[in-house]
């Protein structure tokens, strides 16, 4: 693998799951749990003649950012599209539970400076949702992960990181929305139904999945950032994600709670307000919304570098 220094300056988008996991935490601090040597693989795939992976497509482990233990779950999109099955689902749930357990132990051991050592869960999503070969187990994992998020609520932050080729779709789109903080690069995409499926169901006139510019305007990070679904838009460097995570780790749990999208009556009302707005204005394209939020020349936004974009963009102001 490339050295940590190379990873920091390297593209997040081009990195595989293990490189992302290692590079998002402090230098030399990552320890993989249930790595390739443990050969913790899906028992279902061999029967179905589908290739297997030693880590079942998800890298899990723990590293440090400052004094904060960071529990990393990093999905590999090249392995069955990053889909969630029984084993990688269980690794994901287990990692979150381990973070929670660690939080409780640290709180007991360091009551005075717990905040400084408060653990964090980081999920690098690259997935289309449930793995069809083991769909029941995959669905169960979705439910268990959501449940574990609730247990972490207000105790330690759960952060989504989205910036890889497959994006974050299907059931995992819901899961990402239920985390506290979302960090994306320009290439990151979040959605429920994938573009090809929308085209198949609604027709090419409604949504042309081969028009990647349209796909990105609809599901991509710049749109999510304007609407407020994405909290941090960063350069496509693993180091930029590392820095954003350090920023989150330094915040109070109260501030972090304020970055959520769903999870309270007030937030539900805010979401309903958005639904009403869309009903009233009937936008034909995301750019209509960008304009509504004060971006005079919305067609220019996709062309800008992340740096330029962050300088000029107008975002939805949260109530």
């Amino acid at each position: 693998m490339r050295s940590w220094n190379e990873l920091e300056t390297g593209s997040f988008f081009d990195a595989n799951a293990r490189e992302r996991a290692v590079g998002m935490v402090d230098k030399g601090s990552f320890t993989e749990l249930l790595g390739p040597l443990d050969r913790f693989m899906s028992p279902h795939l061999p029967v179905l003649g589908t290739a297997v992976e030693f880590d079942d497509g998800t890298v899990t482990g723990v590293g440090l950012i400052g004094k904060h233990p960071v529990f990393v779950i990093s999905m590999e999109g090249k392995f069955i599209g990053g889909a969630i099955g029984e084993v990688n689902g269980a690794k994901m749930v287990g990692s979150i539970r381990l973070a929670l357990k660690t939080a409780e132990e640290l709180k007991a051991a360091h009551p005075d400076d717990y905040e400084e050592r408060r653990p964090m869960v980081v999920i690098s999503f690259e997935t289309g949702g449930v793995r069809l070969h083991e769909a029941n187990a995959g669905l169960l994992a979705h439910a268990e992960v959501m449940d574990a998020f609730q247990d972490c609520r207000k105790k330690l932050p759960v952060v989504s990181v989205v910036g890889s080729k497959v994006g974050c779709f299907g059931g995992m789109g819901f899961v990402a929305a239920a985390t506290d903080v979302i960090i994306m690069n320009e290439q990151g995409r979040i959605g429920l139904t994938g573009p090809e499926v929308i085209e198949q169901e609604m027709g090419k006139e409604e949504f042309d999945a081969s028009n990647k510019a349209l796909v990105y305007r609809t599901t991509g990070a710049k749109h999510k950032y304007i609407i407020g679904d994405c909290n941090y838009l960063v350069e496509d460097k693993i180091g930029a994600f590392h820095a954003a995570l350090a920023d989150v780790a330094a915040k109070s749990m109260e501030e972090i709670e304020g970055m959520r999208r769903i999870g309270s009556l007030k937030l539900v009302q805010e979401q309903q307000g958005l639904v009403k707005l869309v009903g009233d204005m009937q936008p034909k394209d995301s750019m209509d919304l960008w304009k509504y939020y004060g971006n005079e020349d919305p067609a220019e936004l996709p062309e800008m570098t992340t740096e330029e974009f962050l300088k000029v963009v107008k975002r939805r102001v949260r109530p």
Partner: protein
């Protein structure tokens, strides 16, 4: 001796055309302009049964509206047409046969319609004249396949019928010249009718009717290769090519194929090529479409000139801003021209290099599959040794000097040889072998009743084959036996490669006829995507300083 002079009229073609033009005159609105709604009626008036008709289908630009109109003609009025066209890619190009409007076909390349052509041939819906190379077909436009009616596409026209074809000029001049100067009829679909053109590419008096099509003509970015999809194996072969061929022969002028293999080479020039100190020595003059993957090599000063067969969507502004490199008109936009580019590609370049699907033990190379009549396009024009070449260059002379049978064939005369290089993977996706004992072209010839097997590059023209196993310098071989052994020696674990005799392969390595990556001093574990000067489309945009504007399907932002 007594001469028998024929008694005949000598201007029947002219009179016939005049009669047709007069019959169509009521459909003309002003100048040469005909309404799109009258297009079918126009075609039914100017086209007669058994005419030779050219419908402009290039690699990229398609006279798609006129193709649709052609299909809407009444087969009772117009039938048995003989279609002569270089590229057949739209469904309508075959619908005219299905509907009984056309009967015979002469063409070069068919791409997506290749399966249907094979089907139609077997069902007797279509008579195939021949599958040509581009230059060969253009040649026959001026010989025995001159169109009576040409249906072409241009970007803009003015009211006098002057045409602007600009960036996507492609085949238009060749078709129009052949048609008009044998008293034929030229119908043009244009995206826009304007008062003043940026420049005149086709003079108005060569054009009879202009129709503004309801939608701009269809154009596809066929030559854009996303660097994100280039594999480590392609990087390895690219490094082998640069070191073992480009560097070794100091190849200055060339055509690159359109696959990922050659895109990898283009992206390795600023990195690996630079490391080898080859800048200024190789890759100066290209005959090539404006490949976005060439941008980093241009920006780092490798390339001196590029002439293009056609345009490429998204490259308009970049090309216009690099007029030292590309062929740009006084209006500031590029002009492509397939006939001239193919001429340069046939006679003038030192090397043709491209990917292929199958190579047999004799070195014949083909992209044909058993049930698709796909044709050749221009590859055979460039992938051959042009016997009409008389200027020398280092690469050409060196390749001739090394020619293993030059004494038997040439005597004492000094001659050179075109480098014709094929890049092949021993196994492609889904483990389909790249080397076979018999080409699928043989099955296709049988299935489609072709007189000759559609071989893309003949074995005796092929000088080098590159696989991940090594480079075979085939032109150095003295016998067919040695040639076959060299091919087997780099064919890996395919059926062809398994028959290699390891002792003979070793001897060929010692003789410099086979060079493995190790022989070339290339560390396989270092041949990775990290060597590429651009790793994705976004990087290409950055290299271009924002001048390259990739089509929506290649964006991920």
């Amino acid at each position: 001796m007594e001469f028998q002079k024929v008694t005949r009229e000598w201007d029947t073609r002219k009179k016939d055309t005049l009669a047709r033009l007069n019959a169509a005159a009521p459909l003309v609105k002003e100048g040469k302009i005909v309404d799109a709604k009258d297009a079918v009626a126009l075609l039914e008036t100017v086209i007669k049964p058994f005419d030779k008709v050219n419908i402009e289908g290039n690699n990229q630009k398609q006279a798609d509206f006129l193709a649709q109109c052609l299909c809407k003609m009444d087969p009772g009025k117009v039938h048995d047409l003989h279609m002569v066209q270089s590229v057949l890619t739209l469904p309508e190009h075959l619908d005219v046969f299905e509907k009984g409007i056309a009967k015979k076909l002469d063409m070069s390349f068919s791409g997506p319609q290749a399966g249907r052509i094979a089907e139609f041939l077997q069902a007797g819906k279509l008579e195939l004249g021949a599958i040509h190379t581009y230059l060969e077909l253009y040649g026959r436009y001026f010989l025995d396949l001159t169109p009576k009616v040409a249906l072409v596409a241009a970007t803009m026209a003015d009211r006098e019928g002057n045409l602007f074809t600009g960036f996507s000029t492609e085949d238009t001049p060749a078709i129009v010249e052949a048609t008009k100067f044998r008293q034929g009829i030229v119908v043009v679909q244009v995206n826009q009718i304007v008062d003043k053109l940026p420049r005149v590419d086709i003079p108005g008096d060569w054009v009879d009717f202009v129709i503004q099509s309801p939608k701009p003509f269809y154009i596809e970015p066929l030559f854009t290769r996303d660097p994100a999809l280039i594999t480590d194996a392609q990087v390895l072969k690219g490094m082998m090519a640069i070191k073992g061929i480009y560097g070794e022969y100091q190849v200055e002028s060339m055509n690159h194929g359109i696959g990922f293999d050659t895109a990898a080479i283009e992206l390795l020039l600023p990195t690996y090529g630079e490391q080898l100190g080859l800048k200024g020595k190789i890759c100066k003059n290209f005959i090539l479409n404006p490949h976005p993957s060439l941008i980093p090599a241009i920006e780092t000063g490798w390339v001196e000139s590029v002439h293009c067969f056609g345009g490429e969507l998204g490259m308009e502004d970049y090309v216009a801003a690099r007029s030292d490199i590309f062929f740009v008109g006084p209006d500031g936009s590029m002009r492509s021209n397939r006939a001239f580019s193919q001429t340069a590609g046939h006679y003038a370049i030192d090397m043709f290099i491209g990917g292929t699907l199958q190579i047999d033990p004799y070195g014949n190379s083909s992209t044909a599959t058993a049930n698709r009549v796909a044709g050749f396009g221009g590859a055979p024009n460039m992938g051959c040794d042009p016997k009409g070449r008389r200027h020398s260059s280092y690469a050409w002379l060196k390749c001739g000097e090394e020619y293993g049978i030059k004494e038997q064939l040439w005597g004492p005369v000094h001659r050179g040889k075109r480098l014709v290089v094929q890049l092949a993977e021993t196994f492609r996706e889904k483990l389909a072998p790249g080397f076979v004992e018999e080409l699928d072209a043989f099955k296709l010839a049988k299935n489609a009743n072709l007189a000759i097997e559609p071989v893309m590059i003949y074995g005796d023209d092929l000088t080098h084959v590159i696989t991940e196993e090594g480079i075979a310098y085939l032109h150095k071989c003295r016998t067919m036996e040695e040639r076959t052994a060299a091919i087997r020696g780099i064919a890996g674990f395919t059926e062809v490669g398994m028959k290699a005799d390891p002792k003979e392969t070793k001897r060929l390595r010692e003789a410099g006829i086979i060079k493995t990556p190790a022989d070339l001093g290339i560390d396989i574990s270092k041949a990775t995507r990290s060597m590429l000067a651009a790793k994705n489309v976004h990087d290409l945009v950055e290299w271009s300083g924002g001048l390259y504007n990739p089509p929506a399907k290649f964006r991920n932002w």
